[in-house]
């Protein structure tokens, strides 16, 4: 079994965050791949929810969906409630985990997938929120899955597409968001979390062979440190084997 590349490492580390008997709103790409791996490996009763309006699909190896609303995403689903109603399950509080990527993330976990520069005259226009804002607003807990690059980890995002802790210190609750918020950021270098008081991002674990300094050097703001910083277990042979079988075309694993 060859050593994992960055996407494989990310998918395996992300999959370990998901627990059995929970519901997860999964974004297409590495988050969905990680959720499918978790379901196959250690969380058989994990219910996937996909924003195209899909509950409980079984993703077929080699037929990974490229968007949230196509037949591949809904294969062998248990329910197809439609887009609005799928999100209303989250608004009602039924979705345990939101699991998604992000173009740009700040020290309070807020994400920008909308635009760089002025909104109406952008320098770079990104595809937009899709359901990311709703997932970040309405799931009980949100886990971000992203490559760890300095240009992605910025002090303040140019545009808050998906709210996490906003400006910290009770800002989320004050805005009217009743629950949720980003609890974890899984990256290619380690696991990040948030200080329970300040809601600022901190290092909680490093992946094998990565130092705390490496993580700080690849981040555009000062990270806090958890009281104890763990080292994650490297991906096992069977995790990698299952993961590679899910994406034989290497559509998302690179």
């Amino acid at each position: 079994m060859s050593a994992p590349n960055a996407s494989e490492l990310l998918a395996v580390m992300a999959s370990r965050q998901l627990r059995d008997d929970t519901t997860v709103f999964a974004g297409v790409g590495v988050p969905l791949l990680a959720a499918a791996l978790a379901k196959q490996r250690h969380a058989p009763r994990l219910t996937l929810v996909i924003e195209g309006g899909i509950i409980g699909p079984e993703i077929a190896p080699g037929r990974l969906p490229i968007s949230t609303n196509e037949m591949r995403a809904g294969r062998r689903a248990q329910m197809l409630p439609g887009i609005t109603d799928a999100f209303l399950f989250a608004q009602r509080g039924f979705v345990d985990v939101g699991f998604m990527g992000g173009a740009q993330i700040d020290q309070y976990g807020n994400i920008n997938t909308t635009a760089i520069g002025d909104y109406w005259k952008p320098t770079v226009r990104l595809p937009g929120t899709g359901g990311a804002n709703d997932i970040a607003s309405l799931c009980r807990e949100v886990i971000i899955v992203t490559a760890h690059e300095k240009r992605r980890f910025v002090p303040r995002v140019a545009f808050v597409t998906s709210p996490a802790w906003l400006a910290g210190d009770g800002a989320r609750r004050a805005a009217g968001l009743l629950f949720g918020g980003v609890s974890r950021v899984v990256t290619t270098l380690g696991l990040l979390g948030f200080d329970p008081e300040t809601k600022r991002m901190r290092i909680e674990a490093t992946h094998p062979g990565v130092s705390v300094d490496d993580i700080q050097a690849n981040t555009g703001f000062e990270l806090g440190r958890a009281p104890t910083i763990e080292t994650t277990e490297p991906p096992s042979a069977d995790e990698l084997e299952m993961l590679r079988a899910l994406d034989p075309e290497r559509r998302f694993l690179g």
Partner: protein
Amino acid sequence: MALVREVLRQRRRGLTLARNLTCTEGEFLMAAGAVERIVTAWMSIGLPWGVSKVMRHYVESGKVALEEWSHLALGLRFRAGAMGVPFLPALTMLGSDLMAVGGTKTLQDPYTGETLAAVPALFPDVALLHVHRADRFGNCQIDGYPHMDADIARAAATVVVTTEEIVSDEETRRHPDRTVIPGFLVDALVLVPFGSFPHECYGLYEADFDHFAEYTAAIDAEGPQAVAGYLERYAYAPPTFADYLDLFGGERLARQVRRARELTVDA
């Protein structure tokens, strides 16, 4: 797609397009100069092809305004329209910069004082929809993903539907639970098999990803102006939708039908 093709062929101008996920059809309408504004949650073609270069070109140059709402907020705008109420309270988008983009206001819950987003109703002038089957009275049935089509049909002033199949009144009555749009909402019904191709129709044909790859490859090579050539070939030149489908060929269509069955009926 049959209806979008017709909008293009009629050389419409000054339109606002509202739909949650905007894909190639949005790029066509931008490139043809048909739309001034797109109201959406997300626009690109699909993850493997990255951020839409056509969208970036038209939005970054200020030629087309892209008004972004969250998926649920836009869904609730159609639902408010469908319900005939001016807005719906929601717990989404709060605290984000999306609130300001569409001018969404907050309101205080009159019972608890909690802050809510007041998502305004959207009443489209025209709804363009494609369904699996309809009868001669316009009663429409959709298999698989319902998307938001039932809400959109209720919210819109005029409803134009294309259908894969026209069935008898008896057939509708055999499965009334499958009817999601009653005939009294529908202003025009057109029989167009493969009417959403190269996009998918649940259970009937899979989206033609190879076609999207060819389309995006041309844009990568020639820039956004490649869409003009595409529109000439696929929208303006073929006089009928059957001529349009001939450009793909029966074998390609049959392959996509087979793939759809693998993912639904045989899965």
